[in-house]
């Protein structure tokens, strides 16, 4: 591939500390140092533009059975309106896997992590990934409501066996790490519990949520998975659940922990509605706990759908569905609940949610500790990220929005008092360097020599959201895939996964478990290469140990 130089852009690359005018060279899909004695085969003038690494979305529900159920549940939410360009089949088929790849690429995103892959449905997630063009994908495997794990914990098995099980499951489902969703609470819902807190006990297992997530947190570290346990806590969405969040952080044992879509846990009980923002309190706790990272799950006012493997929570949300319908799936372990919803700026509760999310962004000091998700599509679609970046970068823009909220909201959020504005460098820390660190990606989220040549070039202007929505150029593995905000052709991205080590004894034990319980070969749940349409679908990311 040709030696290419992007000449004279404003490079914003926190991983290498660059925030200045300079050139970026790449060849054969990788960033290179400026080669001595060679001139570029291709030179692109990007003066007047911002140059960043391709962005990484650490938590976005883009693939798998639950997402597909949502598509089928809500045909009215995604009517297509325009024909696609040549060379990009299905790229305008709204909410299709193909459109997902196109839209992410156009915003300069080149890696996206689907955070909830059920072990028994992993193959479908990977089949869908295969049909997301351009970008690289990865998934987190969901454990914590599965009988095999809970049974081992109940029976007081040694850490070694639990570590082996975790590592084997991550390897076999071909993911980047572990997610735990309302630990024990989904199993408890099957036994008809309708609420489940940190110290409630799972029927027939005698375990608390606290014990389950702590065990998985330890196992994640022990087997060398770079990404900390990715935890969806108990009591999502409930007034006063800040107590759950603070207690969960206190229970983190000094080990790394990632808390997902924390905006949905930043609620107090103040005011006449008994619902207030506790974003400031939450942010203070995160600032004091450097091993805790969070993504926000920002609410953006829009019609959307909530997709979650927290089946207990989703069942409880059904009466508030907009429109009034939903799907509840009791899976082999977690399952899923799909409940449509509309966030309205005129709704007191939604406005508090919006404000709480922004408080979290603006009051957490370190941009590499807080990530910009909307928990797509739960707080709003990923296509609202450009508007979200604009809100973070402008106190004036936030003030305009605040003036449209119900007046009593302002009494229950600290947002009006916050003047902080994110810089482009901080945006890049959150969406590039920090995100890469969070997953142990050493060759992405950065523009240093040796990194993958995933590069986004933006034209700055008064319309910050517009700048992020339509990148001027995007290169994926050194290939030009977006020009002036349009995808002109597809390339095929990889699915990233890790292979932690474990003792093969666990495999035999699992074989007999499946045989005894289901009378089925365990391999029926596998993700073999032969099941995917293309060879080389995967790329391995090294483990921490």
């Amino acid at each position: 591939m040709a030696l290419t130089v992007l000449r004279g852009g404003h490079i914003v690359d926190p991983a290498t500390g660059q925030d200045a005018i300079g050139d970026v060279w790449f060849e054969d899909g990788r960033i290179v140092e400026r080669p001595e004695g060679r001139s570029a085969d291709e030179e692109i003038d990007v003066s007047g533009h911002i140059v960043m690494a391709g962005a990484i979305d650490i938590h976005s529900h883009i693939a798998g059975g639950n997402v597909n159920t949502a598509r089928l549940l809500l045909p009215e939410l995604h009517r297509a309106i325009r024909a696609r360009l040549a060379g990009t089949p299905l790229s305008t088929a709204k909410w299709s896997s193909y459109e997902t790849g196109r839209l992410y690429a156009q915003m300069g995103f080149t890696t996206v992590v689907e955070p909830a892959m059920a072990p028994h449905h992993a193959l479908q997630t990977h089949l869908e990934f295969n049909d997301v063009p351009i970008i690289d994908k990865g998934a987190l495997t969901v454990l914590g409501n599965d009988d095999f794990l809970l049974g081992m914990l109940r029976d007081g098995e040694k850490d070694g066996a639990i570590n082996d099980y975790v590592a084997q499951t991550v390897e076999n489902t071909r993911s980047l790490g572990l997610k735990c969703i309302n630990p024990g609470g989904v199993e408890a819902f099957k036994e008809n519990m309708r609420a489940f807190g940190l110290d409630d006990v799972v029927p027939f297992y005698g375990l608390t949520s606290r014990q389950i997530f702590q065990a998985l947190q330890k196992a994640t570290q022990a087997v060398g998975i770079a990404h900390p346990l990715h935890l969806h806590m108990n009591n999502l969405g409930l007034a006063g659940n800040i107590d759950t969040a603070l207690a969960t952080i206190d229970a983190a044992q000094g080990l790394p922990l990632h808390l997902a879509h924390v905006q949905f846990y930043a609620y107090g009980k103040e005011g006449k509605n008994g619902f207030s923002s506790a974003g400031a309190l939450f942010a203070e706790k995160v600032n004091a706990n450097k091993k805790v990272s969070v993504d926000v799950g920002q609410v953006m006012f829009s019609d959307t759908v909530t997709i979650s493997s927290d089946v207990l929570k989703q069942f409880n949300s059904l009466p508030g569905a907009i429109p009034k319908k939903g799907a509840i799936f009791d899976g082999d372990a977690n399952g899923g609940g799909i409940v449509p919803y509309a966030y309205k700026i005129s709704n007191y509760y939604n406005a508090i949610q919006w404000a709480a999310g922004l408080e979290l962004f603006l009051l957490i000091d370190n941009p590499e500790q807080v990530f910009f998700t909307t928990d797509h599509p739960n707080g709003g679609p990923f296509t609202t990220y450009p508007e979200l970046f604009a809100l973070l970068m402008s106190a004036d823009l936030r003030a305009q929005h605040l003036s449209r909220l119900p007046a009593d909201v302002l009494e229950h959020t600290t947002l009006p008092s916050i003047s902080r504005e994110y810089t482009l460098y901080e945006i890049a820390q959150m969406s590039r360097s920090g995100a890469a660190k969070l997953f142990g990606f050493e060759d992405r989220g950065r523009l240093g020599a040796g990194a993958v040549a995933d590069i986004a070039v933006y034209k700055p202007g008064r319309d910050v959201a517009g700048m992020f929505r339509r990148a001027t150029y995007v290169f994926k593995d050194g290939n030009l895939v977006v020009r002036d905000g349009e995808v002109s052709h597809y390339t095929r991205g990889k699915t990233l996964h890790i292979r932690p080590r474990y003792d093969q004894q666990i495999t035999k034990r699992l074989d007999s478990y499946y045989d005894d319980l289901y009378g089925l070969p365990r391999g029926i749940f596998d993700v073999p290469d032969a099941a995917l349409p293309h060879k080389d679908a995967f790329a391995e990311v090294p483990c921490r140990i």
Binding site: G65, V67, N68, T69, R71, L72, L73, L74, P75, H78, A80, I81, R82, A83, R84, A86, G87, P89, L90, T92, A93, W95, S96, S97, Y98, H120, H121, L123, Q124, L127, D131, P133, D147, F189, K190, E191, N192, P203, F204, F315, K325, G326, A327, I328, F329, D330, G331, D332, Y490, L517, Y518, G519, L520, I524, F525, D526, P528, A530, A531, P533
Partner: protein, 366 residues
Amino acid sequence: METATLDGKAIALDDAYRHAAKILSGAAFPLVAGLGADVAGARAAILLAEQLRGAFDHLASRETLADIDVKRSFGMFTTTANEARVRGDCVVLIGPGLTQAWPGMLERLAPSQPPRRGAQAQQPRKVIWLGPEGDEASAIPGAKVIPASAHQLSGVLAAWRARFGGRPVALDADKVSLIDGLVETLKNARFGVFVWSASTLDPLAIEMLQGLVIELNATTRFTGVHIGGRSGASGVTQTSGWMTGFPPRTGFGRGYPEHDPWRFEASRLVDSGEADAALWISAFDGEKPAWSRDDIPLITLAPANAAPSRGLFIGVGQPGVTHDAVLMSQETGGMTLRKASAPTDAPSVAQAISAIMAEVSEGAWR
């Protein structure tokens, strides 16, 4: 095993692919129908329909859309067959022919064995079968059989739901007390499961069933297992879902997908003359199209023993039999790779369509 015929006469396979491409490219609104294929075949067929700006439908869409219509207009509770097996303490089978729609059903649900988990673990499972066919229910010792003909199912379900809600029904006192007893059983279940197949229930009956599920969940846990349609319907529907956002009966005439269960119904498109060429895919068993016209250009992809005497025929292998295939598995509720049980070198649907695609203008994103 490579076979191709044109109006019953053998032709070379390469000529057949070229001819198929010519027919489809020359059509104003081609139809890809049948779609009896594995995931790879469905994927190729949908990409072909998209490129041709045609439409696609599956031969079991009536059943698939009965379930989906309830889901998207009302909502749905479901579980996996394995969860029903290990936890279901009360299994209620609805309608006739379930063991034909899903031959492995009794082995998978293991209704004669006690559940393994939950409040009723190791207690005898309650099994009720409403309206089985013939002695279908005799395979489950102890099952309570409630006789009903297929057309009575909706009415019976309505009566159950009415009595559950304490509302009067216009039935004899004997029947009312029978129903009240059954409703008590449902209420006392700890993890109850309805099992149904849309091949014998219409959407209103399925909605009635799901309405009852929602009401039961006010106090206990209840859910359902639905049996998918024939010829790979569930896997094709999932594939169609992520590729286009919609289930089959979707058209691309405007260059983007539009889903309309009436407009893009295969037989209607052919019989009305709106479609002017058809690619019929039925790789599992060679099922024939249900339309009545026989004067539009037709390409058939089916097993060698199902060659029609009219039109262009390309013999393909059977998914999971002659070649490895990804299919939706009824026993797990997920996609799985089925290894070939009797491998041959017959092309798969995906390979045949890929060869046709290679002859179609824009060329291949595969």
